[in-house]
Point group: C2
Chain length 453, copies 2
């Protein structure tokens, strides 16, 4: 986790919008009707007719208009400077307007903050904005007495059908505060009914499990085993499959990265328990929104009970926002966002491969090309993380070597693997990635016997 990305595209975008608005401003249209369902296009918006929402809109635009030199951003709920929200600068940038480059700072490739998608949302500012009225959904429940928005559920099912990455028919759905809460709910639900201990939990190495302490007491006497299968895998991007099978084995499929940004989609997931998160789909890690598809009714009921007792469902504010973001994606069948994500990740992998191709010291994981039913071609995977190996005999601790070269990442032991490996995040902001490449180039150029100098 951590850090921020830049806002240069937004600047242009804001100008375009301003020009468009001035144009439509003289063509003010006084009617209020929606066409093609519930949505407005620019030329139908009667901004002059706005009443209670105008002030909030002006506040948001004023915050957004802070440019922060393209190396930061100002948020509506940020600290205030000069009567407006202050700039919050990307890693390695500082000063009131983020124009100060902090040349001695470390490149941050540590957490999986998915800021690589931020420019996409700045480009789609108009369609992705949402106005929350003061009295929006104050109740504990929706009108069907659940804590789940049916509209949001429909959009999620539609998206999976468009992308072809999950079969959702005949499956229950639950929402959670990120995949984190759903993983907790799933472990609870799959633990033996008659045991107050969780079942034993296993995963193929290397694997990511948040704080590994969560699973350390996970041994019981009933013989039940829960296998976590993350596909594509964090950290190495492999399309893992379940290893254990049998009546005592329950499998939790973490599909956080199973989107065309990162991998080909060979076939739709059709598993007993599959977890997705908006974090690696739209990049909104901070919204804490995930969902799970569950085949078995009892497992669904037990997860639901856990979620109700834990938080009484997911914030309705978050569900409203997730709905608006999904509408933008679904509008063109995901075409724009996945092309944006795929292109961005491909460019980053190209730069990374090129940089490390000069090196004898560091190597990258190999992930096999996959057929992608979404893009209708065989494609190279573009995983969210580089799983770097230090090849020299004496480089037993890879992350220490990277840290010494001012590169932050995570050592192999965090993923229960050899410390000869380290994970570098490739999904952070452009600034973070640029800094990473720059530090790697410098590191590689100092190698004795680097292939080219």
């Amino acid at each position: 986790m951590m850090a921020r990305s830049e806002g240069s595209i937004f600047k242009l975008c804001f100008l375009c919008s301003l020009i468009a608005n001035l144009f439509f401003g003289v063509n003010l249209y006084l009617g209020r009707r929606g066409v093609g369902g519930w949505k407005w296009s620019s030329d139908e918006v009667n901004v002059q007719g706005l009443s209670w929402s105008g002030r909030a809109a002006a506040e948001a635009e004023s915050a957004a208009a802070r440019e922060c030199s393209g190396h930061g951003r100002a948020f509506l709920d940020g600290a205030v400077a000069d009567g407006r929200p202050a700039c919050e600068c990307n890693t390695c940038y500082g000063g009131p307007d983020c124009s100060l480059f902090l040349s001695s700072c470390s490149a941050n490739a540590d957490g999986g903050d998915p800021l690589f998608l931020e420019p996409f949302w700045k480009q789609h500012a108009e369609s992705s904005a949402v106005v929350v009225a003061g009295w929006h959904r104050m109740s504990y429940s929706f009108s069907d007495q659940t804590t789940l928005s049916q509209e949001l559920e429909s959009l999620l099912r539609k998206l999976h059908s468009q992308v072809g990455n999950a079969i959702t028919d005949d499956k229950y759905i639950l929402f959670g505060a990120g995949s984190t809460q759903l993983l907790n709910a799933a472990v609870h639900a799959l633990s033996h009914l008659n045991s107050s201990f969780p079942a034993s939990a296993v995963a193929s190495i290397p694997y990511y499990a948040g704080d590994p302490a969560r699973w350390k007491n996970a041994t019981n006497t009933t013989g039940d085993i829960i296998e976590f299968v993350t596909a594509p895998n964090n950290p190495n991007g492999q399309l893992n499959e379940a290893i254990l099978h049998g009546p005592n084995v329950k499998t939790i499929h973490d599909r956080a990265y199973y989107w065309p940004h990162f991998t080909g989609i060979p076939s739709p997931a059709d598993e007993d328990l599959t977890i997705f998160t908006i974090s690696k789909l739209t990049g909104h890690a901070g919204s804490r929104f995930g969902w799970a598809f569950i085949r078995n009714e009892e497992v669904y009921q037990r997860m639901n009970t856990f979620l109700q007792l834990n938080t009484m469902g997911v914030s309705r504010d978050t569900q409203l926002r997730a709905m608006k973001l999904l509408k933008v994606i679904i509008e063109d069948g995901g075409r724009e966002i996945f092309e944006f994500g795929y292109k961005t990740m491909t460019k980053r992998w190209d730069r990374l491969r090129k940089t490390l191709s000069m090196s004898n010291r560091f190597s990258l994981q190999k992930v096999a090309p996959e057929n992608c039913t979404y893009f209708q071609k065989v494609r190279e995977p573009t995983p969210a993380y580089a799983w770097v190996k230090c090849e020299r005999e004496e480089d037993k601790n890879c992350i220490e070597i990277l840290n010494a070269a001012k590169i932050l990442g995570r050592g192999g032991s965090v993923f229960h693997d050899d410390d000869r490996y380290a994970r570098l995040s490739l999904i952070r902001s452009d600034d973070d990635f640029d800094m990473l490449i720059s530090r790697l180039e410098s590191l590689v150029s100092k190698e004795d016997g680097a292939k080219i100098m």
Copy 2:
């Protein structure tokens, strides 16, 4: 939980806003400056200059403009009818515009859905609206690497200082997805470090504990005891105090109802672990936002770890909205919202007392008047719930008698008390409360020997 309140005040409000807007529309002001910090007043809003936020604003206003006959509301994320979000009707109302009164339906006084405050937010539509940009806070963390908004923390501390209901100096603060998650976190944190079982949990009868199954396994061998103290108490409104003391006793103070809507504020809470929720302060139960003040650093750290592993903090969308709502309250030191809440609850209690004053069969709890340092007077408490007692020898199950008279509530045994008691919620919508009074009047009028017929 459940149900909805009316929107008649809003109708008037919307008209006023529209007129105001037309007035300001001809006085368009092209500058963009904030005065007195980060906030705009109506006459400074340049709605014509809006670019990317105008469409979202128009969508929200269009949804809000559905009147639903004053007996329902349309939300931005509701099901669509005629190209706009459909009306969602209050209990006992139906039809596409909620104009159909369902005369045979039951009065809903069951859950604690705090819709009594909905009209307040409709009256403050302009100041409470918030625009969430598509790229708002996508990161896992704020710029200080935490998952808590510092601005929101400041507002919460300021509010408690204004209201005088909690001393927050030298205390840690944590946010949760409602008080529910914080109660879970607190139980986890206060359980003995060396025991994987929670400590024994106790509370004075009657008490509310969500699903009581949560506590049923709460016995351990270490002798640790957690006492839950809810003050004012749910269901009976008493300002409970801790009963147990000693080195093995840890106390969790649930202060959800410790606001001037419901009770006098004799003195600020100054406890080791105190939990509040926005649900009973602003009425936004659906937002799932609560906070806790914690004196001890180790307890704070353990709760924080629980919250991070459970959900990785509270949705940033929710935090943004909570901030906007709190700003409205704090602006006048809480004067307007607490007067609104106190007046509404006083009127409701007056009507309820008057209705039951005719009865020999049903009685209400007595709660002692309290000095209120906030309103600077001694005042009658106006609790969120009526704790009704069926006085007749043969009326051993009070909720059954109420249900037969088409009144929904909760029986005494839900609160671990005698079924001779029942809880009726008084904080729901005006429609729900009106229906409750109507059903009670009818029930009382049928009493043999009712005081007046």
